[in-house]
């Protein structure tokens, strides 16, 4: 069973569209993250949720809106997609208090 799963794995879309990436973890973790890996391969934190509550919001455009319906899910919705949004987005989760950060396999978003 995959610990952290993201869907879709690949997403190709036009500029201006709205799209969502879903993430689910079956580890019982309280804290989930979204990271963006850009063309320079830099893994940059975007958001963090703990038990459905937003705790970290880095300088991310308002077009990005995370939604956590329950502590096992953290979805990323992106409005009005731009070319610069093309990247691989990784979801991750961790047990509160430290330990290993488990990553999903990544969702490659290509905006044309």
């Amino acid at each position: 069973d995959t610990a952290v799963s993201q869907t879709p794995k690949y997403l190709v879309t036009q500029m201006g569209n709205d799209k969502s990436i879903k993430c689910e973890q079956n580890l019982g973790h309280d804290t989930m993250y979204w990271y963006k890996q850009d063309s320079k391969k830099f893994l940059k934190i975007m958001f963090s949720y703990n038990n459905k509550e937003l705790i970290i919001n880095e300088t991310v455009p308002n077009r990005f809106s995370p939604k956590s319906p329950d502590k096992a899910h953290l979805n990323l919705h992106i409005n009005s997609l731009e070319l610069g949004d093309s990247a691989v987005y990784f979801c991750a989760s961790i047990r509160r208090g430290g330990g290993e950060l488990f990553f999903g396999e990544g969702s490659r978003l290509t905006v044309l």
């Binding site: 993250y33 893994l43 940059k44 934190i45 963090s48 430290g98 290993e100 950060l101 990544g106």
Partner: protein
């Protein structure tokens, strides 16, 4: 401004020799450090970690060294194997929740 820096984008090492991957950080409040390994088209996977109260942690072929005064840590892999070819990310934990990554170093193990 990058708080976790991996200044070598790539490194090539002969199979069987030691691979040393370096990482520098600027925030003295970091108290926990991690190394992740990433293969193409996969998410990063955890390798090894170290708390700031220690200066060394070893797990099999992997050893992480921490020099707090220099704000430097390194990952040693010995002996290096072909399957070690991957991108290695250094990361630091800020507070309870924020894990900040370096840009990664691509390690090539040569036959």
């Amino acid at each position: 401004d990058q708080q976790v820096k991996q200044n070598s984008p790539s490194l090539s090492v002969q199979e069987g020799r030691i691979s040393i991957l370096n990482c520098d950080y600027t925030n003295s409040m970091f108290d926990y450090f991690l190394w992740y390994k990433k293969y193409p088209a996969e998410g990063p996977t955890f390798l090894i970690s170290i708390s700031s109260i220690k200066d060394k942690n070893e797990d099999g072929r992997f050893t992480v060294f921490l020099n707090k005064s220099a704000k430097h840590l390194s990952l040693h892999i010995v002996p290096s194997q072909p399957g070690d070819s991957a991108v290695y990310f250094c990361a630091a934990l800020e507070g309870d929740d924020k894990i900040i990554f370096g840009k990664g170093t691509r390690l090539h193990i040569l036959p």
